[in-house]
Symmetry: C2
Subunit: 438 residues, 2 copies
């Protein structure tokens, strides 16, 4: 067995900035041929509805569905799938769901209002969306945890109708069989309707609606390049969550955590796929090498060792820094999806962190707790998007309306202000409409 390859960098060496830029360089590129294919599918679904949806589903998922209604999985089948799961898995999913729900409750946006000194009332009113779509990838990456993380916040927000779609391509024997754990999780989380469709055609159907698929107001959930391109294409017609890139973790360690733990934390990111990124930053070169040693030893525990090797060799790094302050600075440049602060005083270090999707504080909070059951959402901004965007949450399924409520007396001074600025902007009807109230 060859030794595990991983890049070593010294943050204080000349050329480090360029090395880091190169390591991070993976802005989501739009592939022109993917975009073209997806645009054609979206236009076709919009024009031909169910007929086009059936054609694409049969072609891409190698199925032979003749009626669009067959694409729906009845609710009773979701409940049956739940019952077929092993009891200990059901208990684990129930515990996770309860914790996800409890955290989500804290995220709910609330109405507020205040009065100005003129007696006018100003405020913000929060309402749930009417109907949202959750895209759940099928095939090899069929994850019940993703179902919980996407559906529960929507239900906590009060969305009356959550539509889940999950592609279920036929297997070698020609059977199209959805994953029991995924369907069971849909049952547990409270998805209202489930359709076995996927790809750009599913996104287009959710955005525009067909006779069978009801049109939604927002589409969330990860998918391949075609799904991502389709979400970008329908953005504006419906809301979308952020475009998910490969998953990432940065671990900042003071050199005092068991190197075997940190090795496995890095692996838990690397095992996702070859594009996943695992970076360890420590003010202690000897410690970095102890972690590298532990990685060598523990790789044998993993059936997915080949993916882990490729991910670490292609995108991983061990970065030696002067001190934890420099570690925080580098982490802010990376703006990682997941950040472990495996140090003695994580709260002090947190004060220096500006951008991260989720922060895991201390030696006893590995990223995988966040992936499954700590409570916060595991759908997090990737590819440096933590600079400007949020974890998926209840607030992504609510929206705000501004309220402006004026009295006859309170309106007069506003009429004068609005009238004067409208004059300056040359908008005469605005000025007149304001002054009508004075």
């Amino acid at each position: 067995m060859s030794r595990l390859e991983i890049l070593r960098l010294d943050a204080s060496a000349a050329g480090f900035d360029a090395q880091l830029d190169q390591l991070l360089d993976r802005a989501p590129e739009q592939n022109a041929s993917v975009t073209q294919t997806v645009d054609a599918i979206v236009a076709d679904i919009r024009r031909r509805g169910d007929a086009a949806l059936l054609e694409y589903t049969n072609r891409f998922d190698r199925r032979s569905v003749s009626q669009a209604a067959e694409l729906e999985i009845p609710k009773a089948e979701l409940a049956a799938a739940w019952q077929r799961l092993p009891a200990d898995l059901r208990a684990a999913l129930e515990a996770a769901a309860a914790r996800i729900r409890r955290y989500a409750e804290h995220q709910k946006l609330a109405d507020w209002e205040f009065s100005d000194e003129l007696g006018n009332r100003l405020g913000q009113r929060v309402t749930p969306m009417d109907r949202v779509g959750v895209y759940v990838p099928g095939g090899k990456a069929a994850y019940p945890s993703s179902v919980l993380m996407n559906v529960i916040p929507a239900k906590v927000a009060g969305v009356p109708e959550v539509i889940m779609v999950v592609p279920t391509p036929s297997d070698a024997e020609g059977h199209s069989k959805p994953n029991d754990a995924v369907l069971g999780a849909a049952h547990l989380a409270g998805a209202d309707r489930v359709f076995t469709i996927g790809g750009a055609q599913a996104v287009a159907a959710l955005a525009w609606g067909t006779a069978t698929i009801p049109p939604v107001d927002k589409i969330v959930g990860p998918g391949n390049a075609y799904v991502a391109a389709a979400k970008r294409a329908v953005f504006g017609r419906v809301g979308i969550d952020s475009i998910a890139g490969p998953s990432e973790i940065v671990v900042i360690c003071d050199g005092q955590t068991d190197p075997r733990w940190i090795a496995m934390d890095l692996f838990s990111q690397a095992e996702h796929d070859e594009d996943a990124q695992s970076i360890l930053i420590a003010p202690d070169i000897a410690y970095l090498e102890r972690v590298a040693e532990a990685m060598e030893q523990r790789l044998a525990e993993l059936p997915r060792a080949a993916i882990v090797r490729a991910s670490l060799a292609g995108r991983g790094a061990l970065i030696a820094v002067r001190d934890l302050a420099q570690a925080a600075e580098i982490s802010n440049r990376i703006a990682p999806e997941h950040l472990e602060l495996s140090v003695a005083d994580p709260r002090a270090l947190l004060q220096q962190i500006r951008h991260a999707g989720a922060v895991f504080l201390g030696r006893h909070a590995p990223e995988s707790f966040g992936d499954y059951c700590a409570g916060p959402n595991h759908v997090l901004p990737t590819s440096r998007a933590a600079r400007f965007s949020n974890p998926l949450g209840v607030y992504e399924f609510q929206k705000r309306s501004s309220l402006i409520d004026c009295t006859a007396d309170g309106a007069c001074p506003l009429a004068a202000i609005a009238g004067r600025i409208a004059d300056a902007e040359g908008l005469h009807a605005h000025a007149a409409s304001a002054r009508d109230r004075s």
Copy 2:
């Protein structure tokens, strides 16, 4: 003078639903040639930076700038522009800014944390973005109010650096002169740097950065089709606000508001441009005709009467309904940017409203108060996006990080739950990393 044309609809008549769909049918279409042009500009700015930015700016804005540094307007010039404004306009802008700031303060997201029953701490931490870009249209639609509405929430959020861009094409005499009211508003609102660039090249420069233009984390502000396409293209690299469509108003009136007021409220939307949409809904056909009559009379007050005529003829409507409940239902289908509830009991009617960007309650709150000075933002979701998105606000310039802080004891039960679900998903490193902490 020809009579003013506006569509009359009866919500209880057969075929109304189709008529309404047709009236609203203006989903933002992507024009392939615009997209292609914009993609080329974005790629060129990314590759050649300042050199490309200068070329496009000189070409599209008919300028002759030789050094990229000349594209920046020094802060002293912003202050000078402010001082050149008439005193009463300065007073009006100051009053508006104070009210916008006060409302914005209410929108700030806050940190929170709670403990679970195991002693683990879970929470959410809120931080401002590092640097944002505000696009301000130039030319005929140079609005100081837009500067206030875009810059103030970013500064209230705590964004250290707000970069404003405003195209300043040369006039017939070859002079490129920014609008004093726009620069003065930038001074008042606290924009940190201002550049006289626009179009897709400005959006690309903000997203990728050049030697002169610093890269930002998010770009907000309205623009033409090229600006909208550029924002869509850079989405993911940076955050963007929603893609702005034509402006809209729905007025629901019980027939008791002075028809002359409602006429001018509808005009104040219609005067924006020919694509703007003004719709009045009332349970009283005679009242609708009185408003139509008032529109005929008051049109003479307006220098922009031609635009108003075109907008009302092309996209306006007077809709007769059975009662206010039916009016609310139709309004929910429209999900308007602006909604006036010009009725005796607007609070009761508000309970039936699900989707609207801003709601103006009562007869004394015309939309133009919201456009300038009531306090809430005038950047609102258009083209039915109020179904899923928010007014621009402080929260658009802040982002959340999830916090997961476990104790050694508190970690054990989580390790068991995470381990079990990870087993089911076939993610062995996730399971092992979790179980290391048990």
